[in-house]
Amino acid sequence: MDTVMEVKGLAKTFTLHQQHGVELNVLQSLDFSLLAGECMLLHGRSGAGKSTLLRTLYGNYLPAAGSIRVRHQGKMVEMLGSEPRQTLELRRTTIGYVSQFLRVIPRVSCLDVVMEPARARGMALDKATARAEALLSRLGIPQRLWTLAPGTFSGGEQQRVNIARSFMVHWPILLLDEPTASLDDANRNVVIELIKEALRAGSALIAISHDADTRNAIADRYLDMTPKELSHAI
């Protein structure tokens, strides 16, 4: 199977200038490769840097050092030091990210939020609408909510909208941060199914989940992220 992501020597440090320049070395010298169709779970206690890693892989956080290479349209592309438009292009077609929290753009209907990744890739409106509606139904979001903006939805509902949005299109690489948190059993199982379908279709996944059932259902391997001591600059 193809390698879809190669990470070497990845380091991430936060320097808090507002707090006397405190430095938090969250990631240090991380190495791993990811193959298409496999699911890697990040393993470690809170504060170990799991979410930080996902965000760094997505380009949301700026790495301090190292290399993140990603298979994009047949070629391995280096993400560190790339132009914003390259990162945005990667996010449009290659790397998907399901965060814990749905970032709500006001006044955009639930259906439009879900359809957006497909529309960004040029999917026709009717096709995108049909697929979005199917996903929302599957995830138990009632039809009467589809035209409403998700800002007023419950946490669980927002999360399911987020999930639906992520599975609208095929992602070669999908990053999932607690995809089943705050979901009941039935919905959790739907999400696990969706994840398995994506894996079968060849997506590579990196996921964080504190829920043992989810982990057991989807994980192919684990990346152990031993928590680092918070180090203070002297």
Partner: protein, 256 residues
């Protein structure tokens, strides 16, 4: 893909650290670049130099048009600059009164660019006016009304229509939502998002409002005291600011 706008080492200073200096970047078709910073950071100066309104002390602005080739903005003649600003570029002023002719009708405001390009058919001009009023969600029956009878938000949308009628490739916006009521701002932002997406516009937008920047911009430049202190992907700058000043800026934003 070639950049649409290339800026090299652009400098215009009115005094020590007043204005802009050493600014370089490339802007690609369809990219929205936000310039953020506090008052006096030099963002409006930078915008005025980028848009051909103020000659820089040094540095260059290149505009690469696929049809007509590259022009060095300040080596070109005043006629070429004006023509560019009237056809391929647009400029949305913070105060719509600065960007509109207040004493002629909305239809005339929208049609002016077309008339300047030699359109001499009244019927066509009127059609364009009606079409663009609809695009910016102004009731088309107001085509003969004077802008002074419009609300602030409507005036701003009219200003946008007036610019878009010549199908520009690049728009400059100076705090387009400043001075508007919050709900009116929201409406305008929705319009801008839609239009930028549909028309694949490249935009340089100056704003002090980080929420506007997050909503509209693909990438940001943070300015402080005439210099760009940080630049990059919008969500990266706002979620993981590196520079001390950027961190201060982001942490200062009130969350309601």
């Amino acid at each position: 893909m070639n950049p649409l706008l290339s800026v090299r080492d652009l400098t215009l200073l009115y005094g020590p650290e007043k204005g802009c200096q050493g600014v370089s970047f490339d802007l690609y078709p369809g990219e929205v670049l936000g310039i953020v910073g506090e008052s006096g950071s030099g963002k409006s100066t930078l915008l005025s130099v980028l848009s051909g309104r103020n000659r820089p002390d040094c540095g260059q602005v290149f505009y690469h048009c696929p049809q007509t080739g590259s022009i060095d903005l300040y080596q070109a003649s005043e006629a070429e600059r004006r023509n560019l600003l009237r056809t391929q570029w647009g400029f949305v002023e913070q105060n719509p009164r600065d960007g509109l002719r207040m004493n002629v009708s909305a239809g005339a405001n929208i049609g002016e660019r077309l008339m300047a390009q030699g359109v001499r058919h009244y019927g066509q001009l009127r059609q364009a006016g009606l079409q663009w009023l609809k695009q910016v969600e102004i009731d088309p029956s107001r085509i003969d009304d004077l802008p002074r009878t419009f609300s602030g938000g409507m005036q701003q949308r009219l200003q946008i229509a007036r610019n878009l009628v010549s199908s520009p490739k690049l728009m400059f916006m100076d705090e387009p939502t400043g001075g508007l009521d919050v709900s009116v701002q929201a409406h305008l932002l929705d319009l801008l998002r839609r239009i930028v997406r549909e028309l694949q516009l490249a935009v340089v937008i100056v704003t002090h409002d980080l929420a506007v920047a997050r909503l509209l911009a693909d990438r940001l430049m943070v300015m402080r005291r005439s210099r760009v202190v940080e630049a990059g992907l919008t969500d990266q700058i706002l979620d993981d600011p590196q520079h001390a000043y950027s961190q201060l800026l982001v942490s200062s934003v009130l969350q309601p």
